[in-house]
């Protein structure tokens, strides 16, 4: 009985449950993607002393919906002389692979407290023993979306963008893969849940035993993390490594000739891989769903309330100041909902079922918080860093990141050997 055989002999309940989970995850991720664009524009605007989107809805909150509609209704132009099959395949490939990689990411430690037709409802779609390898194999194939888009467009700038991206992604994939070997050596497993569970507990009773600082069973992985995060930014083609679409040189790089929703597919793919990379950073180096505080500090379990209630109240106050009627209605309603959820969680001190709910959301809360932090980091980098030159990019990848990550592997391996020696 191997995993495929087990998978093929599942009953109908499993398939229904899996399809529901996939649909739900897709819905959530696509919505988050849409609001990530809003978030990015707002944060970059703040960094550059601008206002950012503010016309469509209060604080521009409906801007993503307007953008989505615009993408749907624009003319879907196809330039002459393109290789039709590959031209249509490229955005499809990019989006599918980016979304597929989310399937193996575990979002919380415990299954939901009810059963679905006798099946345990876990907070992941699939949890293979080779989770990390699955992610890397999907990333490895992800290059084709961009490279083929550049080639199939039958145009000079996209071709240059496609060439740059394939060279860049092949170069940085090496250091990205090497930089997680340290984590794998310490966890002794490819499974993402195993890697997270190895990071639970504390060092000296106070610091979290996350791989980034923990010496437990190996060596702390701060070097590995830096290599991983830099390579991952390059792998997702984001600033300061966004040479495949450098707008000052290549118009829009590989997606110059794509319009309408095919362009949006590349866009969604890029933002989805940002989410994947952020989750990987959180899972591999920052303890995944493990709390920042020791397990004995039960008061920290009310941190979600402590964030949600003031934030909700602030949104209410902000909404009352808003000029338009729409803003006056929507924002306070939203704020009341947020503050209400926070208050309900806080009420868990006295009401037992709510207490259980509050305990249950601790894992997802910490993981999502960390993912959000890394997404902010992405935007932060975009708002502050200038783009690298192409030769600098190649030098960083091959002459800095690769040797450093190999050295990290050797040092970690030596420590693991030393620790495990009798």
């Amino acid at each position: 009985m191997n995993s495929v055989t087990t998978f093929l002999t599942q009953d109908g309940g499993f398939w229904v449950l899996t399809f529901i989970k996939i649909a739900l995850l897709l819905f959530i991720v696509l919505t988050v993607n849409a609001y990530l664009t809003w978030f990015e524009r707002k944060v970059v605007a703040l960094m550059q002393s601008r206002v950012g989107p503010h016309r469509v809805g209060p604080h521009g909150l409906l801007q993503p919906a307007a953008d989505g509609l615009k993408f749907l209704f624009k003319e879907d132009a196809m330039p002459g002389g393109v290789d039709k099959f590959v031209y249509l395949l490229a955005p499809f490939l990019a989006l599918t692979l980016a979304l597929a990689s989310l399937a193996v990411i575990p979002f919380g430690p415990n299954p939901l407290p009810f059963k679905f037709f006798g099946h345990q409802v876990d907070l992941f779609i699939s949890n293979p023993d080779i989770g990390l390898l699955v992610l890397f194999s999907i990333t490895a194939l992800g290059v084709y979306g961009i490279a083929l888009a550049g080639w199939a467009s039958n145009s000079k700038y996209p071709l240059l963008g496609g060439l740059r991206s394939s060279a860049q992604m092949v170069s940085y994939e090496l250091s990205m893969t090497m930089s997680v070997v340290g984590v794998l050596l310490m966890a002794n497993s490819f499974s993402l849940t195993d890697i997270i569970q190895k990071q639970s507990g504390t060092i000296a009773g106070i610091l979290p035993a996350w791989n980034i600082i923990s010496f437990r069973g190996g060596f702390f992985q701060i070097v590995g993390f830096l290599c991983f995060f830099i390579s991952a930014i390059a792998e997702t083609n984001r600033v300061p490594f966004d040479l495949p679409e450098a707008e000052s040189e290549l118009v829009a790089g590989f997606h110059t000739e794509y319009s309408s929703f095919k362009f949006a597919m590349f866009f969604i793919a890029e933002y989805t891989s940002m989410i994947t990379v952020s989750s990987l950073c959180a899972i591999l180096f920052f303890g995944g769903w493990n709390s920042l505080f020791p397990a004995t500090w039960t008061v920290t379990h009310y941190l979600p309330s402590a964030i949600l209630i003031p934030f909700g109240l602030w949104v209410i106050a902000d909404g009352l100041k808003y000029e338009t009627v729409f803003g006056k209605l929507i924002l306070p309603g939203l704020g009341a909902a947020i503050a209400g959820i926070g208050a309900l969680l806080l009420a868990g001190i006295w009401i037992a079922p709510l207490h259980d709910v509050n305990e249950y959301i601790q894992g997802p809360f910490w993981l999502l918080g960390k993912i959000f932090f890394f997404l902010f980091f992405y935007v932060w980098a975009r708002g502050t860093l200038p783009r690298f030159r192409y030769d600098q990019l190649m030098n960083i990848g091959w002459k800095l990141l690769l040797p450093v990550s190999i050295a990290n592997v050797i040092v970690t391996a030596a420590f693991v050997l030393f620790r495990s020696a009798p």
């Binding site: 191997n2 080779i130 490895a140 394939s166």
Partner: protein, 168 residues
């Protein structure tokens, strides 16, 4: 028919179609894409045999790294459509009989010792990464190291050739 068998035949058909398309396509990029289909469906077949690690590595190394390099070179050279020539008399007249002979030979070998082919010989050893690495670094350590040495020689050869081009 058991579900595994259905999946097996789907993947087998996909890899055969991919391989045929690799030869019959006129444009190098289309051929390269067909080869990627073959690689990925082979990975699916490995997965069906329980070799998860091998399947993942198949996609990472062959589907990802090597084929990206192929596509990259084709894009860089901006190779156009191939013209089909029939200069090889051997391929023209000997191709079909030779292919049939090879198929017959393989089929005969499979029928002859069917048991060892149809059962995967060491399913447990293939299943987990730990066991496959134990095999690689204990029983098969010399072939493994020799192979890596061979690859190292090839890399150095490529470097030397590239450097010579630059000097000239």
């Amino acid at each position: 028919m058991s579900p595994e068998l259905i999946v097996f035949f789907l993947l087998a058909a996909l890899s055969v179609i991919g391989a045929l398309s690799l030869i019959l396509q006129k444009h190098p990029i289309h051929s390269a894409l067909s080869l990627i289909v073959v690689m990925v469906s082979l990975a699916g077949l490995y997965l069906l045999m329980g070799a998860e690690f091998v399947a993942a590595v198949q996609i990472i190394v062959y589907g990802g790294a090597i084929m990206v390099l192929f596509v990259f070179v084709i894009m860089l050279l901006n190779a156009g459509k191939e013209e089909h020539t029939d200069f090889s008399k051997l391929a023209k007249f000997g191709g079909l009989p030779l292919a049939l002979a090879l198929t017959g030979l393989l089929a005969a070998a499979m029928i002859h010792n069917g048991a060892s082919v149809s059962n995967n010989a060491t399913p447990d050893a293939l299943a987990s990464t730990t066991k496959i690495s134990m095999l690689l670094f204990s029983t098969f350590v010399y072939p493994f190291e020799l192979t890596s040495f061979l690859i190292l020689v090839a890399i150095m050869g490529a470097l030397v050739l590239a450097q010579r081009e630059k000097k000239a």
